[in-house]
């Protein structure tokens, strides 16, 4: 059974312009959570009915705390950003499948962009071996030090060139020609598509975390689908339940 939870906010702070880090006490979620899963936050305000899905950035098994990092992009995230330490917020989770971690794999490559970076923090903690991370941002990188702290080698690209190289993650990849046994990626769709094409050429398996507008978040309403391959045909799979992480080979990019 799952429950609708009342989570106590421990901290909610702006860590970069319009980017917030929120920490809750959420022992029930922490017990089950995997990297790449998400939780649904309810704004509980008249006109904002639907929950907001936000990826799990970090879980702390000792303190029972969970960290999310979110961008303020509209009314819902705006409301969440005004909540204070001590307030409670309604939530359900963890939701979705998360990344699969294979103990045999020793050479990992993470490629993430913008607000796709947060789920990679928890992932890095669970990967054994060599971890190389390419992060792309428009400006103002986030979570770079946190990811380094867990033992990964991190390279940054910014579109304005303020930090790291000027350009995007694909420019980093073209410069470095990295080798890897497994790729993990999350970020804007054009980036994911580029990662998919590049990794396919090199025949490296890739796990891509997709995003789609959602309603229920648990697999019941079928509003969040993405096109996937099915034998000779194709089918619409649920990003919230069958994903958000899909194997590159599954995803169909064109409409």
């Amino acid at each position: 059974m799952m429950e609708k939870l009342q989570l106590k906010i421990r901290m909610n702070e702006e860590i970069a312009p319009k980017i917030y880090k929120i920490i809750f006490l959420a022992t029930e979620i922490v017990k089950k959570a995997k990297a790449g899963q998400f939780i649904n936050l309810y704004c509980n305000k008249g006109e904002l009915l639907l929950p907001r899905p936000i990826s799990i950035c970090e879980v702390n098994k000792k303190t029972g705390e969970i960290t999310l990092v979110y961008a303020v992009v509209g009314k819902g995230t705006e409301i969440i950003s005004t909540m204070k330490s001590g307030d409670t917020i309604e939530a359900i989770g963890p939701l979705g499948n998360g990344f699969s971690v294979d103990e045999e794999v020793k050479q990992h490559l993470i490629i993430a962009g913008g607000i796709g970076v947060p789920p990679m923090v928890e992932l890095v903690k669970f990967l054994k071996g060599n971890i190389t991370v390419y992060l792309g941002f428009r400006c103002n990188p986030i979570l770079v030090e946190t990811i380094k702290q867990y033992g990964a080698t991190v390279y940054v690209a910014t579109e304005d060139g303020s930090v790291g190289i000027k350009g995007n993650v694909m420019d980093l990849i073209n410069q470095h020609n990295p080798v890897a046994e497994m790729i993990y990626s999350c970020g804007p769709k054009p980036m994911l598509k580029a990662v998919a094409e590049w990794s396919e050429k090199l025949k490296i398996p890739a796990q891509l975390s997709l995003e789609e507008r959602m309603a229920c978040g648990i697999g019941a309403c079928l509003v969040c689908t993405c096109k996937t391959k099915k034998e000779q045909d194709w089918e619409n799979k649920r990003v919230c339940k069958d994903g958000p992480v899909f194997w590159r080979d599954e995803v169909i990019w064109h409409d």
Binding site: P51, A215, G217, I218, T225
Partner: protein, 303 residues
């Protein structure tokens, strides 16, 4: 709280209480079964099922609007064979009634689903006549009273379980459509389905939904639904399952007083995964507060 009698009878099938799920918002109960005890529901109305699998529309399929949401799922479903094999055995483990919502693009397709369900262990059929009628150029079956009578009659002829016809609100005169279903031999009516709507992303200068238009549901549509249930209950003798924006027990009571026998909870599930249980408890609370012994005592009491 004293025990109140919430039993209702819909087209000859007795439900332990009037609370059910609105088709398409609850799957077949597998996912929400993690949050609520399905045994406590009067019935589970499953997502729309067609004769073969339907892929549905492109994404985005959802847009949040003031007090509601638009969806353009396009009746994605695995087809009746897979449904019979997987979903019915799951639901039968619970002490609740099974109502199967039926989708089709032609009268023949509707009939094919119903024939396949004839030997299935289910309790009621709910015919979704908001589907596009392919032979009539894609206009919904449900917008023409003669067409409604015809499709109801054809489906009724091959159905083994009682047949509920689910009406679309996108019509000028809902009473005329309800009478069409009654004349066709419907055993009950469900209303309302979603209202056709649209939303535009003014920054991208594009419709929010890939399908451009979609169905509006949620609290925003409740007054329209109450009005339609009230009008239909006054004009037609069939039992009614009322839905459209039910979030609380009070909302459900409003539908019942307007004339509904059953009530279905849809969009509210997305906003609150235990909404069905909250509605059920809210009905009990109201009955206790006002000393209502049987739910039927307050049904259709609005003059």
């Amino acid at each position: 709280m004293t025990k109140v009698n919430m039993k209702v009878n819909i087209s000859g099938v007795e439900l332990k209480n009037p609370v059910m799920t609105a088709s398409g918002t609850f799957g077949s109960g597998i996912e929400y079964g993690e949050f609520v005890d399905l045994n406590r529901l009067g019935a589970v109305v499953v997502k729309g099922i067609a004769n073969t699998s339907w892929k549905g529309n492109a994404s985005p399929r959802v847009a949040e609007t003031f007090g509601g949401m638009l969806n353009s799922v396009g009746l994605q479903n695995p087809g009746v064979d897979e449904f019979i094999q997987k979903d019915i055995p799951f639901l039968r483990k619970y002490d609740t009634k099974i109502i199967v919502n039926i989708a089709g693009k032609t009268v023949e397709e509707y009939c094919e689903v119903v024939k396949k369900l004839a030997t299935a262990d289910i309790d009621l059929l709910e015919l979704n006549i908001s589907c596009p009628n392919v032979k009539e150029g894609g206009v919904s079956f449900g917008t023409d009273a003669k067409m409604v009578e015809y499709v109801t009659k054809q489906v009724k002829r091959v159905s083994k379980q009682p047949l509920i016809v689910k009406l679309t609100p996108n019509v000028t005169d809902i009473v005329e459509i309800a009478k069409g279903a009654e004349a066709g031999g419907a055993d009950g009516l469900s209303l309302i389905n979603t209202l056709l709507g649209m939303a535009i992303d003014i920054h991208k200068r594009k419709p929010v939904l890939a399908n451009v238009v979609g169905g509006l549901s949620g609290p925003a549509i409740k007054p329209v639904a109450i009005r339609m249930v009230y009008q239909v209950a006054k004009a037609v003798g069939l039992p009614i399952i009322g839905m459209g924006g039910i979030m609380t027990g009070e909302d459900a009571i409003e539908f019942i007083q307007a004339g509904a026998t059953g009530v279905a909870v849809g969009t509210a599930n997305f906003i609150n995964p235990t909404a069905t249980m909250d509605v059920l408890e809210g009905i009990g609370k109201y009955m206790n507060q006002y000393g209502v012994e049987k739910i039927s005592d307050i049904r259709g009491i609005i003059a």
